[in-house]
């Protein structure tokens, strides 16, 4: 029998953690409890963050938006702030897991799980999100891109907990598109996904663009070369195909039960062509 501790404040969390230094930390449990069931991990005790009110808010902070790490996907989807200011994140959340998974899983959990298929990650990379990491005696911030190292691996230190995600002011992106290709429409782990943020001028020229792919490398993949290839251009099939060719050179996909590497490579480029079909 393992202890399961449910701190209500960060203060209580530090105290519990001191008593149970080997405890695994979880929020929604949609990843950790599956791993435990598969006997992949054997933590001596568990600390569940779901009751810590400090970790739940979604609010503007400075120019940006601060999202508590334990905000659930469903809470984020319902948030007017997310719908209005972070539509690309809302698009990704709408296809993450299933309704009960979205009622349980949290954005902080999706980040700490550090799966290349995590649906919130491509939008957060494209938005240049930062993570806020707290330990008993301090707090630090880090770019999300630096935080995630490899599948399942982050730079979180022992005694630290992810407390918030900070998303800076978006750069007037008027075309925001998230698409995931999976084996089915719901409850699917992505075969490849793309988050695309573009600012188009009145004349239809690309002024600024950020692109981030999921499931085509050990972490989320960005492709500055493809972004540069699009800047100053009109979104035509020809320009997108040129950029797609660069993307296919940049990704490093694996073959697994869902798809093989060659298919993922082709798909990563093809997802870019879909920008032509986005209503604008």
């Amino acid at each position: 029998m393992k202890k399961v501790l449910l701190p209500r404040t960060l203060c209580e969390l530090w105290r519990h953690w001191q008593d149970e230094p080997g405890a695994a930390i979880y929020a929604g449990g949609t990843d950790l409890l599956v791993q435990m069931r598969n006997a992949a991990v054997h933590p001596p005790a568990l600390i569940c963050l779901e009751r810590i009110a400090e970790l739940r808010g979604i609010e503007t902070e400075g120019d940006g938006i601060r999202i508590g790490a334990c905000a659930t996907h469903a809470q984020l989807l319902e948030s007017a702030l997310v719908q209005q200011r972070l539509p690309i994140l809302a698009q990704a959340l709408a296809v993450l897991g299933s309704p009960p998974i979205r009622n349980m899983g949290t954005i902080g959990g999706n980040i700490c799980t550090a799966s290349p298929a995590g649906d919130t990650l491509p939008p957060l990379y494209a938005l240049d999100a930062e993570v806020e990491l707290c330990r008993r005696d301090g707090v630090k911030h880090m770019a999300l891109q630096d935080f995630i190292v490899s599948p399942g691996q982050t730079r979180i230190d022992k005694g630290e907990v992810l407390t918030a995600i900070w998303v800076p002011k978006a750069e007037g992106y008027n075309l925001q598109h998230y698409e995931k290709a999976g084996q089915r429409q719901a409850l699917a782990v992505s075969i490849a996904s793309l988050a695309a943020l573009l600012r188009l001028s009145a004349a239809g020229l690309v002024e600024k663009v950020r692109l981030a792919w999921g499931s085509v490398g050990p972490t989320i993949v960005t492709c500055p070369a493809a972004e540069e290839a699009l800047v100053g251009k009109r979104l035509t099939l020809e320009t997108l195909q040129q950029a797609a060719a660069l993307v296919r050179q940049s990704v490093t996909p694996i073959s697994d039960v869902r798809a093989d590497a060659a298919y993922r490579r082709a798909l990563a480029g093809n997802l870019l062509l879909r920008l032509l079909a986005v209503p604008r």
């Binding site: 449910l6 409890l33 779901e50 299933s98 309704p99 009960p100 009622n103 349980m104």
Partner: protein, 167 residues
């Protein structure tokens, strides 16, 4: 000691805090209406309502029930005159059940959906039930049943045409 409300009744249980809620319900309390399919959050058979929200009882530990109010399929009909919740009636009337294994989770997921969206389109119903797998029905009669239940609770006449017949 874990205290929570189960189907309207105050409970006080001495149970291992790391016991999965699905095991607590089925094995310890004999509430076998909640099913376990995959045990990994991918099938929805173990769906319960926690403070009115659909959650998966295979991915929750007993300690997390502390202070919560839980509804399982056994408790959904409480307070109804016929002994069945309108959704359960509609599932019967529409023939939305074949083997029945997914039905408890399906009904509770639908209850969560109708609570938030009392008049959903067929596409919204499909999205709302997208976490629940059914390997028998092909889903059409399940969507019919949820639509019928929504009409019933809205007290609309039965012959009202579906809002969007083409998905």
């Amino acid at each position: 000691m874990i205290r929570f409300v189960l189907n309207g009744k105050e409970m006080q249980l001495d149970t291992p805090p790391d016991r999965r809620v699905v095991d607590l319900l089925r094995e310890d309390l004999g509430l076998t209406g909640t099913k376990e399919g995959c045990g990994a959050g991918e099938c929805g058979a173990c769906t319960i309502l926690v403070d009115g929200e659909s959650r998966l009882s295979c991915l929750m530990l007993a300690a997390q029930l502390q202070g919560r109010s839980i509804t399982t399929i056994e408790g959904l009909r409480q307070g109804t005159e016929t002994g069945l919740h309108p959704l359960q009636e509609a599932f019967v009337e529409c023939g939305a059940v074949q083997c029945g294994f997914c039905s408890p989770g399906m009904v509770l997921a639908a209850a969560h959906l109708l609570e938030r969206n009392p008049d959903p389109s067929r596409m919204e119903i499909r999205a709302g039930l997208s976490g629940n797998l059914c390997r028998c029905t092909g889903y059409v009669k399940i969507v019919d049943a949820v639509e019928a239940a929504a009409r019933k609770t809205e007290n609309k006449p039965e012959e009202t045409a579906p809002k969007d017949a083409t998905p």
